[in-house]
Amino acid sequence: MAPFLFARREPPAPGAGPVIEVTDLTVMYGDRPVLWDVDWEVPAGVLMAVVGPNGAGKTTLLRTILGLVRPVAGSIAVFGRPPAEARRWIAYVPQRTAVDWDFPATVLDVVLMGRYRHLGWVRRPGAQDRERALEALAQVGMVHLAHRQIGQLSVGQQQRVFVARALAQDAWLYLMDEPFAGVDATTEQALIEVLRGLKAAGRTVIVVHHDLQTVPLYFDWVTLLNVRCVAWGPVTAVFTADYLRQTYGERASILSG
């Protein structure tokens, strides 16, 4: 694992209490509840999957933790602080379709965007940032495409770029929204190796995931979400037929056989 460079802002020491503490969280879109009285706690250093059916509020949960969505009730503490203060320690991988891939930028341009938070206003990325960005690209096996226009990338390569951008942010908490969506098996393996590397380096990684089969393979913790938080904990304890049925309805019984 390459060393992480924390140029200016030292994150709080990990391990001091849970990384995320959510209590009685309710989020509405209009008058429709998307998250309904969620209590949730994420300990430091886990590699956690968030699973649940479509419309379960998985993306909303991540966006609320980032402070991009305001809850109507409940509280969130990330590293013991409100989201607006804590988000400089959080890296976010949005869904691939959240941006316009025809934007005039190269792969390196996009990964460098991960460095902007360390620069503050006006200052441009320098040689050190470029080095860190290339390092992040190397971790996802994309260095050879650094100067490729992003519109020419395959889906798998786009996901790799987004993960590299998150790596370049040098965070303590990584929130990733479906980074495996639409990728081939090789990319999925490459990305899961990166996630394991983060965990090994003491980082906390939360991944919205859609493939129930691979949950026990890839993750050590799991959250089952369907507007309400059905269960969370170590995969061995909560990834059970019973909880899956509560989350997905009867369909899930086939999967967990």
Binding site: L68, P94, P104, A105, Y116, R124
Partner: protein, 379 residues
């Protein structure tokens, strides 16, 4: 003092360059028509300010206009946020309302004072040299040149200093927010920059040309490059070209200056649309043709291989009968065979085509990549 023609060109060129900069970001945010909306809506601000101060030369007119410009952007955004209308409809609701209020204001309140609608719509570049900046008895040249030059410099400074912030918030507003660059602040800054530029430019070149200068150079530059910094540079260059070329056209054929400039912009865009190196129609047609031919070569080799050593080989792999078997036009088949021969994939043996070792390898790769097998079973 410069010749009037040169002064007109200078004013128009500065306006074109100043508009081209915010135009790029409006284009990238799919907000090109916001410029259109602002440039129409500001008429309301101008008329309202005039009705209060009763002086056509008062700076309050420009301030009123700029204020209405920002108000338009804010109102459109607020309407969109309600979730009841989409952005395009919000634009369509806000600016005609303000524009028509402005028109009504001119008709009812201004009366016989000179604030004429033609000048508002098409501008009067030809009069630019008559509106001079005089300071301490010195003639400093046309006022329009100073105003547009000042705005060009202001826009340049803003975009150069906040280049990375504008780029990030245009590409991924969420990451901008997380990284400590509030997208709303940058959005309002861009809207303010656009409103000021439009207000100043509209005074010299009119509404129609302002819209053309905001949209055309940016859209054309986007066809010519895939990177943001060159796109900004090219957009400015095209803004200059549009103004100067348009003036040349108007001068040569004795046409409306603003109309000629907008026309030249259209021509520049059409040229890029057809001839741009990667995104132009011609380049894309050529790429498609190359892909088709390459695919045809691969089909040829695979066809030859699947009949190789069979009884039908003489019939199937014969140059004369091949077009009929593959349902290819004979001329196209001839060209494909030629190319495949030059690529070293096939050789001619009289009328018979044979696949070389290189061709065999190529076919293997294609079939391997597709996980397919030859369509004919070996006999």
């Amino acid at each position: 003092m410069l010749a009037p023609q040169v002064e007109i060109m200078l004013v128009a060129a500065l306006a074109g360059a100043a508009c081209a900069l915010p135009g790029v970001f409006l284009f990238l945010r799919r907000m090109s028509l916001v410029g259109d909306a602002i440039s129409h809506a500001i008429l309301f601000g101008i008329v309202a300010a005039f009705l209060i101060v009763r002086d056509l030369r008062s700076p309050w007119l420009m301030i009123g206009a700029a204020g209405t410009g920002v108000l338009t952007a804010v109102a459109v955004d607020a309407l969109r946020r309600t979730g009841r209308v989409k952005e395009d409809a919000a634009l369509g609701l806000v600016f005609p309302a303000l524009f028509s209020l402005g028109v009504v204001g001119i008709a009812r309140g201004v009366g016989n004072i000179h604030l004429d609608l033609d000048a508002v719509l098409l501008g009067e570049l030809a009069f630019a040299p008559f509106d001079r900046l005089i300071w301490g008895g010195w003639d400093l040249g046309p006022r329009g040149a100073w105003v547009m030059g000042g705005l060009l410099i202001l826009n340049l400074i803003l975009i150069l200093t906040l280049y990375k912030e504008f780029m990030l918030s245009s590409f991924d507003p969420d990451l901008a927010a997380i990284s400590g660059f509030p997208p709303a602040v940058l959005h309002n800054l861009l809207m303010g920059m656009t409103a000021l530029t439009v207000v100043a430019a509209f005074d010299v070149v009119g509404v129609v040309l302002v819209v053309a200068m905001l949209v055309v150079p940016a859209a054309t530059a986007a066809l010519l490059t895939d990177r943001l910094a060159p796109m900004l540079g090219l957009s400015v260059l095209l803004g200059l070209l549009m103004a100067l070329g348009g003036y040349g056209l108007a001068y040569a054929l004795d046409l409306s200056i603003a109309g000629s400039m907008a026309t030249v912009g259209g021509i520049l865009f059409a040229l890029a649309f057809l001839g741009a190196p990667a995104h132009g129609l011609i380049a894309q047609a050529r790429q498609a043709a190359r892909r088709r031919e390459r695919l045809a070569q691969q089909m040829l080799v695979i066809h030859l291989l699947s009949h190789e050593g069979t009884e039908a080989e003489r019939e199937e792999n014969c140059i004369r009968t091949l077009p009929a078997h593959l349902r290819w036009d004979p001329a196209f088949a001839e060209r494909v065979i030629d190319r495949a021969e030059r690529a070293g994939w096939v050789v001619r043996e009289g009328d018979l085509l044979r696949v070389t070792e290189a061709g065999r390898q190529a076919a293997q790769e294609i079939l391997g990549a597709n996980g397919g097998a030859p369509s004919h079973p070996p006999s």
